[in-house]
């Protein structure tokens, strides 16, 4: 997979995950987001996982880590676009995102962050 695609849109960062990321790709994304969220002074981060056909234990843990790190940097994270069969597999496997916010799609994710970061 190529370098993670991270776009700045208003006060949010939007990271669209490319299909079939390796473990190394996930770590790259984590590092890039944690760096960029402060550099761009973003209030929120949206991670779009619509294209992922498997979210395994490593991906789950990395997504959770990203959200926690972003929170420590003073911003909010939302994971959007988990596919129905992926959600099914995650639950069967026993994977949990714990307190990480999720929404159906990008539009819902932006709406969530708008509320969450409103002052």
């Amino acid at each position: 997979m190529a370098a993670p695609v991270i776009l700045k849109q208003g006060k949010f960062l939007i990271a669209s995950m490319q299909p079939a990321p390796s473990d190394a790709d996930l770590v790259l994304l984590r590092n890039a987001l944690v760096q960029q969220v402060s550099r761009s002074r973003s209030r929120g981060v949206i991670i779009d996982v619509t294209s992922l056909d498997v979210i395994d234990s490593f991906a789950t843990r990395t997504l959770r880590d990203i959200a926690h790190m972003i929170r420590l940097r003073g911003a909010e994270t939302v994971i959007v676009g988990i596919q129905p069969e992926v959600a099914f597999a995650m639950v069967q496997l026993g994977l949990v995102l714990e307190d990480v916010a999720t929404t159906l799609d990008l539009e819902e994710g932006i709406a969530y962050l708008d509320v969450k970061t409103a002052k």
Binding site: D23, V54, S57, F58, E85, F88, A89, L93
Partner: protein, 161 residues
């Protein structure tokens, strides 16, 4: 030590040491791949091939995803615990049903306490994954054969619905 659920006649054989040999194939079958697992990137190819095989055999998208996720975890276990090994994936055709069999083999340290490893949430490696109980839930049949110092073979199967 063995811990099984359901029957997996392909796993091990009655004849020889199950940790050494491949299951006997009575005929060559094109719907079968063996992926060497030597690095984290191999985890990705193993699960993608499993998904392709399952979809090609007519599995639903959901079931193909469950199988691919199980393969991802089994391959990850190989990297974490044994560093290298292989994953065999094959389509099996019974008289009235079609299934996919996943065999994960490694020559690593083996699992000392298989019963304990099959307990929910038990993991010995930095809590990555939920380990084998989760994989078992993703599949229909699951069997593990492990010998300390010799390695581990996990055989799991899912039937097309």
């Amino acid at each position: 030590m063995r811990h099984g659920a359901g029957s997996c006649p392909e796993a091990g054989g009655a004849s020889s040491n199950p940790l050494l040999g491949h299951p006997l194939n009575t005929h060559s079958d094109e719907l079968e791949v063996i992926i060497k697992i030597n690095s984290e990137d191999d985890i990705l190819s193993a699960r993608q091939k499993a998904r392709t095989l399952a979809l090609g055999a007519g599995f639903s998208l959901t079931d193909a995803t469950l199988v691919a996720t199980a393969v991802s975890e089994l391959a990850r276990n190989i990297i974490l615990y044994a560093r290298q090994g292989e994953i065999e994936e094959k389509i099996v055709r019974g008289s009235d049903r079609v299934g996919i069999v996943i065999v994960a083999r490694d020559g690593g340290p083996g699992i000392h306490d298989v019963e304990r490893a099959m307990q929910i949430g038990y993991s010995t490696s930095r809590s990555l994954g939920l380990g084998l109980p989760g994989v078992k839930r993703l599949m229909d049949d699951f069997e593990i054969v492990s010998k300390a110092g010799q390695g581990t073979i996990v055989t799991a199967r899912k039937w097309k619905r």
